[in-house]
């Protein structure tokens, strides 16, 4: 009796799986930086095109690059653009080129959890580098009190939180620190995965913000929306012009204004010159193979890109991501044809 039940269950599941085969299922993985935006987009896209489901796994930019190179996902996502070596590895392994498609502009903010301090602190580049190098160890260090005259900072030890996984957010953070601190540039450098001098590791933007939330006197670096959605304090950062700027739609958009976009869309906009520019801003990219075998999947991905560059861009301000500059959008719409 139980045996018959088991066989019946197996048969039913097989039938069900065949019935579902009409739908298009796309698997993607990568950056946690834009995850709130992507999860909203994929949901809205699915409402518009019910037969297409894009399952995005937020495992970090490092994971996105690794999985798309291994071919286990249909496309990846990263806020640290792939290096030439990584792009060559993709070419060698998968037999086609990998294309970068910028999706939104976001900001990496220093978020902290200091008991009794709710204000938005001012951070200089040197201060942030000093904290993450382990040279500034207390919250009432002169470097910090100097920039925050009105705030009473406690004499507590700073708990540094960084990423334990390969991360584009780390790339953006380290890219910025390399530009403002010679010592950081030589000692640590910039990459999706660096050798941290100090600190605890959290998994994903989620893990870092979770850790900061749970740990008193801690500081971490996360994408803006994670701090906002969880009502966490985050600081202003000194830009190249010498002003302390708060991350916002305006200041992030200003960061991209001056940048010239190369054809392969890989560009860094940290510490950008100009007024009211948030210095730790970045594009984030979808990593899409230039050759997609499955015609149904190819069409679905192209449809998504078109939708994302038009309707999708309208949804970004609600989640505090800045939409792409119009020039970039135009260039990208043309680049979609590169996907064969």
């Amino acid at each position: 009796m139980t045996r018959r039940l088991a066989v019946l269950t197996v048969l039913l599941t097989m039938v069900a799986s065949v019935a579902c085969a009409q739908k298009v299922l796309i698997n993607a993985a990568g950056a946690t930086f834009p995850y709130p935006m992507y999860s909203k987009w994929f949901e809205e896209f699915r409402k518009k095109f019910p037969s297409t489901t894009i399952n995005y796994a937020s495992i970090g930019s490092g994971g996105g690059i690794a999985q798309v190179t291994a071919g286990t996902v249909d496309f990846g996502a990263s806020d640290g653009p792939m290096t030439d070596m990584q792009m060559k590895e993709f070419q060698d392994k998968r037999g086609s080129a990998i294309l970068h498609f910028p999706t939104v502009l976001g900001a990496v903010v220093p978020t902290y959890n200091i008991p009794g301090v709710a204000a938005s602190l001012n951070f200089t580049g040197e201060a942030l580098a000093g904290i993450y190098l382990g040279k500034i160890t207390k919250w009432n260090d002169p470097e910090l009190t100097k920039a925050n005259p009105g705030v009473k900072l406690p004499a507590n030890n700073i708990v540094v939180v960084h990423r334990s996984d390969g991360s584009g957010t780390t790339y953006v953070w380290a890219d910025y620190l390399s530009k403002v601190s010679k010592e950081w540039e030589t000692r640590v450098g910039k990459s999706t995965s660096v050798k941290w001098p100090v600190g605890l590791g959290g998994k994903g933007n989620e893990g870092v913000s979770g850790s900061v939330q749970q740990t008193a006197n801690s500081i971490g670096y996360v994408e803006l929306i994670y701090a906002i959605q969880n009502k966490m304090s985050y600081g202003k950062v000194k830009d190249a012009a010498g002003e302390f700027v708060q991350a916002s739609l305006a200041s992030v958009t200003a960061a991209a204004a001056g940048a010239s976009m190369p054809d392969d869309f890989r560009v860094s906009i940290t510490n950008a010159p100009g007024k009211g520019v948030y210095p730790i801003s970045s594009f984030t990219w979808l990593l899409i193979p230039s050759k997609i075998q499955d015609p149904v999947k190819k069409k679905a991905i192209k449809d998504f890109l078109n939708w994302m560059l038009t309707d999708g861009q309208k949804m970004t301000p609600a989640l505090d991501y800045a939409p792409l500059p119009q020039a970039v959008v135009t260039k990208e719409l043309k680049a979609i044809d590169k996907i064969q």
């Binding site: 698997n27 995850y35 909203k40 489901t53 989620e206 979770g210 959605q229």
Partner: protein
């Protein structure tokens, strides 16, 4: 003449300490149960069982896909692990006694002791890499490999526990060995065998590590066996380390559901076994 005061003191103190140790152990379990009930059970909603996850940051939604995903993974684990484990147990119990069966038993214990993350790596290299994608199948195979050694040991034990007299009686009546096993020994051990299987499934139901790079996770339904799938313990992990209050609430609910299922199976299994006078191991 009588015990010295010191020896009496030591006796009382040490024995009280052992009682305290027991209280700590039992208290921990009761604390876990209570805390999970309080945080997870009280915030459990119908949505949890019926809805899919919502976009990040939007409260609401549930874990319907993770519940189904876990069920599918367990089904696969059972399909793979139970036949091999059970029949292997039959071999060891009925045809055993040789050096070969000693080797099999030893290897089974070895496999049983392998950390679940290593089994995950195994399933990744064996299934995910050649197939080129993550899937329920890979996750199910990882869990199946974990189920095998647990099922073998419990099957062997319960079959062994069937009195020799029953076997001999059946053979004396002219039944072949195979027929005896099928019609006499196995039915006699039925309660133990079934509960052993249920216990092994309850054990792998809570495993997260082997699923991290085999089943991989999914925010939506996962049709068939070739797509990545969400699973209950994996969702608990992802939500627990996040900062979102709603996700954390859902992690508690999921943890509560998972724990209740696992404990329910364990309690029922042990009650059945103790009624029949077998040891619960």
């Amino acid at each position: 003449m009588g015990l010295s005061w010191r020896r009496k003191m030591v006796n009382v103190v040490m024995l009280t300490l052992t009682g305290a140790c027991t209280l700590v152990a039992v208290g921990t379990l009761l604390f876990i149960l209570g805390y999970l009930f309080f945080h997870g059970g009280t915030s459990l909603t119908v949505d949890f069982f019926t809805k899919l996850p919502t976009p990040v940051g939007e409260p609401g939604g549930g874990m319907a896909n993770a519940l189904v995903g876990s069920a599918k993974l367990l089904l696969l684990a059972a399909l793979i692990g139970v036949p091999i484990g059970f029949l292997g147990g039959v071999y060891l119990a009925e045809f055993g006694g040789t050096t070969f069966s000693f080797i099999v038993r030893y290897t089974t214990d070895l496999l049983n002791g392998v950390p679940s993350i290593v089994i995950g790596i195994f399933a990744y290299t064996l299934i995910v890499l050649p197939q080129g994608h993550f899937s329920t199948l890979a996750g199910g195979i990882a869990l199946g490999v974990m189920t095998i050694p647990i099922t073998i040991r419990s099957s062997e034990e319960f079959l062994r526990a069937v009195p020799v007299a029953l076997r001999e009686g059946s053979m004396a009546l002219g039944a072949s060995k195979a027929k005896s096993i099928l019609t006499v020994v196995i039915p006699a051990a039925k309660a133990g065998l079934i509960t052993g299987i249920l216990l092994s499934l309850a054990r792998v139901a809570g495993e997260t590590a082997p699923l991290l790079f085999t089943a991989f996770g999914n925010r939506y339904w996962s049709p068939g066996w070739e797509q990545p799938t969400a699973a209950l313990p994996e969702m608990v992990y992802r939500y627990a380390i996040s900062p979102y209050a709603d996700w954390k609430r859902q992690a508690w609910s999921a943890g509560f559901v998972l724990l209740m299922l696992v404990l329910a199976v364990n309690i029922v299994a042990r009650i059945i076994l103790s009624k029949r006078g077998h040891s619960a191991r």
